[in-house]
């Protein structure tokens, strides 16, 4: 018979104007956010060209009005570079070459012009270099550059190998340069110039993490150092895994992928799902009090505990349903803006314990992320619900729920931090051997705090609800 109570609660919820509005809102918000991300993304050709043009106009004005040397240097070179960029697509080897080499030369040239004069030797020297670079750009052969780079790196390795003392630190250096060469070869083989494409960026980030790791002190002392090291190791191992398994070249150039967005929703990032959880939990009881319909419910042959439990279960079910709905909306909307094939983007999970990366399927990972963040949602809903019962005010309950979720005490490095709910209720932090940013918050302490709080909040809700008197109007 409890089943029917729950059915009724779900029926009432789904027929309320507020919940209908929330459904429409979910669609609108997703469309607007994705449109913005798509339009202003770093890989959008249209908006890039528009931006360039407006920057050129701005530079032109500033060139005239600039009254100190630094400004002059900046706007003169920027003007020139932007006009140059206008000739090439955003994602192209040429644009990459302009960004990496020519823009520095331009700045150098104008610095010499404005400080040493147009006839100075230094100016003429840089100018020549600059013009050569422009020449090179016309028929830019990026593979040649990469080959030269490989040669240079190989030379470094040769020098390092020659030294008789092959200490472990030299070996690390050699390993590093070999990895750099591997990346460069990957570029050649798969046609990935340094063009600002997602694949190229991934390769660059991998090399950055390699370098960061090389420089890092491995004997960590503080908690923050430990986290930083773990993060670099993670980036490095994931990059290595992607390279090993040839997952980089097919990344495409969308601003995001369906897989990424769905995972972000399922792991409780973003506001919408949280808002709905808090809203439903905050209103499901006060609305019955406001309209007096609670009386009609309480005189039925059910105990108050049964009625409360049915409402809580309905809240949870509605929330899960809404999350699924929101995932579907995201799937469709992101699919439209970023392409439906982005759902196939590989999902790589890193295990901090064994320091290994593995590729996993989307659906299992979605479920895992959702289950790990579920304690946070449940507890938020239970607490909001408790305040809603106590105060009969949806607004107050929502305020409590939202405050709990907006507050951030991660950086409170004191033992008390482990008792702060928001520090421990999202178990995605601990997934795959991860640790909290806060050194006092451990998996064990979090489990205890969350379980105890949940029990206390539910018991309190039951007591308060059972004792609630329905006042005369």
């Amino acid at each position: 018979m409890m089943k029917n109570l729950i059915k009724n609660e779900l029926f009432k919820l789904s027929h309320r104007t507020e919940t209908k509005v929330l459904l429409i809102f979910a669609i609108l918000v997703t469309i607007v956010l994705n449109f913005m991300n798509y339009y202003f993304s770093e890989t959008n050709e249209n908006s890039y060209k528009k931006q360039l043009k407006s920057m050129i106009k701005f530079d032109e004005d500033m060139k005239k009005s600039a009254d100190n040397i630094e400004d002059k240097i900046y706007y003169y070179s920027d003007y020139e570079i932007n006009q140059l960029k206008l000739k090439y697509p955003l994602i192209s080897a040429e644009t990459g070459y302009i960004n990496q080499t020519i823009s520095d030369l331009a700045e150098e040239m104008y610095r010499n012009q404005f400080t040493n004069g147009i006839n100075s030797e230094s100016y003429l020297e840089v100018k020549k270099e600059y013009e050569e670079a422009l020449q090179k750009l016309e028929n830019y052969d990026w593979k040649q550059d990469i080959n030269e780079e490989i040669k240079a790196n190989q030379e470094v390795i040769d020098v390092l190998s020659d030294t008789t003392s092959t200490s472990s630190s030299t070996q690390t250096e050699i390993d590093y340069y070999q990895e750099v060469i591997r990346v460069l070869n990957y570029r050649l083989k798969n046609n990935i110039p340094q063009d600002g494409s997602n694949a190229s960026n991934t390769l660059d980030e991998y090399l950055e993490s390699l370098q960061a790791y090389k420089m890092m002190n491995k004997n960590v002392v503080t908690h923050q150092d430990k986290i930083a090291l773990m993060e670099v190791e993670k980036a490095l191992n994931i990059g290595k895994y992607e390279l090993d398994h040839d997952l980089i070249k097919d990344q495409g150039n969308s601003y995001t992928t369906i897989a990424e967005e769905l995972l972000s929703v399922a792991s409780g990032q973003g506001f919408m799902i949280m808002f709905v959880a808090i809203f439903i939990a905050s209103m499901i009881i006060p609305t019955e009090f406001e309209k007096g319909t609670i009386k009609q419910l309480l005189v039925k042959p059910y105990t108050r505990t049964e009625i409360l439990v049915s409402k809580i279960i309905a809240t949870i079910l509605y929330f899960i349903g809404y999350t699924i709905f929101f995932l579907v909306v995201n799937w469709i909307v992101v699919g439209i803006f970023a392409g439906f094939n982005t759902i196939k983007a590989p999902i790589i999970v890193y295990d901090f314990g064994s320091k290994t990366a593995t590729q996993v399927g989307l659906i299992p990972e979605l479920i895992k992320c959702f289950l790990l963040v579920l304690p946070r949602f449940l507890l938020t809903m239970f607490i909001a619900n408790l305040f809603a019962i106590g105060s009969k005010s949806t607004v107050l309950a929502m305020f409590v729920g939202l405050s709990l979720n907006m507050s951030d005490f991660t950086m409170l490095q004191k033992p008390i931090a482990k008792f702060i709910l928001s520090n421990c209720w999202d178990f995605n932090v601990f997934a795959n051997g991860g640790i909290s940013m806060n050194e006092y918050v451990t998996l064990t302490s979090s489990v205890i705090v969350v379980v105890v709080t949940t029990i206390v909040v539910l018991l309190l809700s039951n007591i308060v609800f059972k004792r609630k008197e329905i006042k005369n109007q």
Binding site: K12, K295, K300, T303, R467
Partner: protein, 306 residues
């Protein structure tokens, strides 16, 4: 016969104020108990205690022999109720409201729902949202809702609010039918005795949280009989013929309380003593007056005590 509803020495306070004092009464099957009292007397509070909507300080409430404190679910199985206002979900249709409630009881058929919709005359509008209903329509929907589980105890708190005279008549006929044909026990509250007197079998009067009297409507009606007004040619020495509660009125009239058998002796005695009698009429006293006198009496007692 076991009472369908029984209250035993029920007390209730809010803060420091005692709202109900030792309330006891019972309703048997087929009885319609009119629960009468002025606004603020404690009618709604009593009804809420019966339905478990507020906590009882002391005393007990039994419904169909089940104590609501220890056996709430069983006690409520055959109760239908409207408290204060009919509380339907405004954003649902009348039919959706009925279906929600039907789902909370065992075996309520679609036919039963339709039958009740027909009974309360909402057939044409049952699929409209309740927010579009008039107060009277909401009352009628409330009644259909209260009857869904075929209750043997019906508790109605001022159900005539918002009903037009025609609606009141319909409700009255319906309640009488339920009581006589289905043996339903009905507790119906009102601050207006006149509305209830024509169809209640019993009247329970509550004032300032105390039950002043509980009796059958016949007894109360009996109480209003036996007063006569007599017009004489003069009132000299009349005092010697009058009893304590008899009164002298204007225009040589007197008001006397006599049993039916006594009145002819009384008239004969007046005639014997050379009074002329121009008219004798029975004083019509409504239930309302009897009721007011009760309340008045209670108040007098109180002021005497002070």
């Amino acid at each position: 016969m076991e009472a369908v509803l029984e209250l035993k020495n029920v007390n209730k306070h809010f803060g420091k104020k005692q709202i109900l004092h030792d309330i006891s009464f019972s309703v048997n099957e087929g009885e319609i108990l009119g629960f009468i009292g002025p606004n603020g007397a404690g009618k709604t509070t009593t009804i809420k205690l019966i339905l478990g909507l507020q906590r009882i300080d002391s005393g007990e409430v039994f419904i169909n022999g089940k104590n609501i404190k220890t056996n709430f679910k069983e006690a409520m199985e055959r109760v239908g109720a409207i408290v204060e206002n009919p509380d339907s979900y405004m954003y649902l249709s009348g039919m959706q409201n009925l279906e929600l409630i039907a789902r909370l009881y065992k075996n309520i058929s679609k036919e039963k729902i339709n039958e009740l919709v027909e009974l309360v005359g909402l057939k044409d509008r049952i699929h409209d949202k309740v927010s579009k209903y008039s107060l009277g329509m909401r009352q009628r929907l409330g009644i259909a809702e209260a009857l869904l589980n075929s209750p043997n105890l019906l508790v109605l708190d001022e159900p005539t609010n918002g009903l037009d005279p025609e609606g009141i008549t319909e409700l009255r006929n319906l309640l009488v039918k339920l009581a006589t044909e289905n043996k339903v026990a009905i507790l119906i509250s009102s601050h207006n005795l006149a509305e209830l007197q024509s169809f209640c079998t019993n009247i329970c009067i509550i004032q300032e949280g105390k039950i002043i009297s509980t009796e059958s409507i016949n007894a109360l009606q009996h109480d209003s009989l036996g007063r006569y007004i007599i017009e004489l040619n003069h009132l000299e020495n009349i005092d010697s013929y009058l009893k304590e509660e008899d009164k002298k009125l204007e225009n040589n009239m007197i008001e006397v309380g006599r049993e039916r058998e006594e009145i002819s002796d009384f008239i004969f005695e007046l005639l014997k003593n050379n009074y002329k009698i121009y008219q004798v009429k029975e004083k019509e006293k409504t239930l309302e007056q009897a009721f007011l006198e009760r309340i008045g009496g209670e108040n007098d007692e109180k002021s005497n005590q002070k």
